[in-house]
């Protein structure tokens, strides 16, 4: 029983990263009808920015500022800076190709991703960096189930972020513009809502979220690597499809589902078969629900 509960905690933590990153895919898809394949690498760049800011702030303020305050400052500054990375990707990679065939636009994302990876390697070199712990890890033992405060923080912070995004999209004017754009990207610009504002904004929000996920990731898995975004990015992309293209709620749920499947498969099978079984399950789900959980029927007419 306790192994079961322990794995639920593990899966909630691991699924949080998939959920937050897959939302970035889903939002961009909603607005531009294409997947931003650079998103995994935006996550990586966000993590490195977070690492830089965290190191800087810890060196400057750790003497007289409590840890949680530095943590919040790191999150806010990193989000701000990382959102520009998102805007950069949109302006440089996607805007010039907006009228181009979809496949070309999809490829730009991959290329920008490779540029980020190799650029990082050239600028920072081959050395692996260790993300400084912003919060001292404390382990609690509830009758054989081990929970650290970092785990709790990751799960809670991810849920808060997703709730905030949900409110933003449902309650604000900007959110309404985003929803309208995903409803009809040809008619809405005629109503005076410029795609040149909404698209970069969507990228910026996605990048901001990914960078916070990166900071949290750095707390749980503190070894930074220029290629850290690839595998996570692809799996989050799977979650975005599984959740239903363009559905933010669906992406988040599918992210957690992916985390649960990946954690629970090794519980019953040899861990060697983990990915094989996990992704076979997803294949089966997609066979029965080809549009994912919340995918809209009209998305079959869309261009990708």
């Amino acid at each position: 029983m306790d192994i079961f509960l322990q794995n639920i905690i593990n899966a909630l933590q691991w699924g949080s990263f998939y959920a937050v990153v897959s939302i970035g895919y889903s939002m961009v898809y909603g607005v531009l009808m294409l997947f931003n394949f650079a998103h995994g690498d935006i996550f990586m760049v966000g993590t490195y920015i977070g690492f830089g800011i965290a190191t800087l702030l810890l060196a400057l303020f750790s003497a007289f500022m409590p840890g949680w305050m530095i943590f919040i400052l790191v999150i806010l500054i990193t989000m701000f800076l990382a959102s520009f990375v998102g805007v950069f990707v949109e302006v440089v990679g996607y805007r010039p190709l907006r009228g181009a065939p979809r496949a070309s636009a999809a490829i730009t994302g991959l290329m920008i991703g490779i540029i980020f990876e190799t650029g990082n390697l050239i600028i920072l070199g081959a050395k692996r960096f260790s993300f400084p712990p912003l919060i001292e890890s404390v382990t609690y033992n509830f009758g054989g189930i081990y929970v650290t405060n970092v785990k709790v923080l990751i799960i809670v912070a991810s849920l808060v972020m997703m709730a905030a995004l949900h409110l933003f999209i449902k309650k604000t004017k900007w959110g309404m513009a985003m929803r309208a754009m995903s409803y009809d990207f040809q008619a809405v610009p005629l109503m005076g809502v410029s795609i040149n504002i909404i698209a970069p904004m969507t990228f910026a929000i996605g990048a901001g979220l990914a960078s916070v996920a990166g900071i949290l990731y750095g707390q749980a898995y503190p070894v930074l690597d220029p290629y850290m975004g690839i595998s996570l990015g692809w799996k989050a992309f799977v979650a975005a499809i599984l959740g239903g293209r363009g559905s933010i709620m669906g992406a988040a749920l599918a992210g957690y589902l992916l985390g649960f499947i990946e954690m629970f498969v090794p519980m019953f099978f040899p861990s060697t078969f983990r990915d094989l079984i996990a992704y076979s399950i997803i294949l089966v789900i997609l066979t029965f629900r080809p549009r994912g959980f919340f995918g809209m029927a009209h998305s079959t007419q869309l261009r990708l």
Partner: protein
């Protein structure tokens, strides 16, 4: 279209310039190829390889080159990045052998790259020394491939014996990367050795993951609940840091034991205090070294600002072995094929070579007989010599 034609022409001219440049020098310089992971999963290993090679080249240049048959030949290094990928290592070897006309190749370091790359070297009849690859398949049935370190079938039982004697443990847990030759091979050898000692079923958890995974909590939960006395994880430094810390967070109290892949200078830096007090088997221990070993460590530390890990030391030995073999080849004919075979034969004849990681004589397979060292990570994060175990 015209532009494209010009572009292609320009590219051809550039390529030709570079290749002809290599061609004119072919007869006068000895080229030594280095196949190292400069980028990818374990760049620190590539860096150590490169630094050791630079130091060696410096020595050779100071001596005016390598002397063969009474004539001094200048030496040139050809460094190719294998990106820590098997296919890139194969490409790098093919390029160095067919285009750069290297005399001998040093590397690749990890078995994952050394096994396929060794095949290329053997097919082209070019001698290759992998300083760090401990998997038997690297040199098996390949007369042109050698290595500078002991083998996993030796390392597995060494660790099993050490743990049994030191701690008196009965139940083992293993966590390894199933997608990489070195951890997979070593995990199997360790399991076999442990079960031979303690009976079938004494490895109570045998869990795996794939390269690039960062979350091991599911496997570790299983391991912890299995009631194992200790965890053996033959992983590289970036994974060690994550595994050891996650195990601690999940309530693991027992020791974590590692293999020579832990020996990188970055293991402790990334892993922090969770790794203090853990043991691993390796090729040499920097702390408390004497003689030529100490001289090498001091020089390396002075030049690059950190104590070299086992990769650096083994690469140094491999390069000096290569030098000894080239010197022992008699004379260079200028026909690269004949010279390579002569160097290979000289390498196979090397006896009691005094390396900084121990004495070496090659067996028929091209593997040296060497001792293993058990290292304890001290409370200051230094690698302390604990015990030496010889075959």
């Amino acid at each position: 279209m015209k532009k494209l034609v010009y572009l292609v022409m320009a590219a051809c001219v550039v390529t030709f310039c570079f290749s002809s440049n290599g061609w004119t020098q072919r007869k006068t310089t000895i080229k030594v190829g280095i196949n190292a992971p400069m980028t990818g999963d374990i760049p620190k290993v590539g860096e150590g390889t490169k630094y050791a090679a630079e130091m060696w080249l410096d020595d050779v240049n100071k001596a005016g080159g390598i002397e063969v048959g009474g004539k001094k030949y200048p030496v040139e290094l050809v460094l190719e990045d294998n990106e820590s990928k098997a296919e890139s290592a194969v490409k790098a070897n093919t390029k160095m052998i067919t285009q750069d006309d290297v005399m001998i190749i040093i590397g690749p370091q990890s078995s994952k790259q050394a096994i396929p790359a060794g095949d290329v070297a053997n097919n082209y009849e070019t001698p290759m020394i992998s300083p760090w690859s401990t998997n038997p398949a690297t040199t098996a049935d390949r007369p042109f491939v050698f290595r500078g370190c002991f083998l996993d079938p030796f390392q597995g039982p060494v660790l099993a014996n050490f743990i049994t004697e030191e701690f008196g443990f009965k139940k083992a847990a293993v966590l390894y990367d199933v997608a990489s030759d070195y951890p997979k091979g070593l995990a199997e050898f360790f399991k076999a050795a442990w079960e031979e000692k303690h009976g079938a079923g004494s490895v109570v958890a045998y869990e795996s993951f794939t390269t690039k995974d960062t979350d091991f909590s599911s496997q570790l939960t299983k391991i912890i609940k299995s009631g194992a006395d200790f965890l053996f994880t033959p992983q590289y430094y970036n994974e060690v840091a994550l595994i050891v810390n996650q195990a601690k967070d999940l309530g693991w109290k027992g020791p974590v034991v590692g293999s020579d892949s832990w020996g990188s200078a970055e293991t402790v830096e990334l892993c922090g205090e969770a790794c203090f007090g853990q043991f691993f088997s390796t090729h040499y221990a920097a702390a408390g070294a004497k003689g030529a070993t100490k001289e090498f460590i001091d020089r390396y530390n002075a030049s690059y600002g950190y104590v070299p890990d086992d990769v650096g030391a083994l690469t140094w030995d491999a390069l000096r072995l290569a030098q000894a073999a080239i010197e022992g080849a008699g004379e260079l004919t200028g026909d690269i094929k004949k010279d390579r075979t002569a160097v290979r034969d000289a390498l196979a004849r090397v006896e009691n070579f005094e390396g900084i990681t121990g004495k070496m004589t090659f067996t028929e397979e091209g593997d040296p007989n060497k001792c293993a060292v058990i290292v304890k990570i001290s409370d200051k994060g230094e690698y302390e010599f604990y015990k030496s175990i010889c075959p």
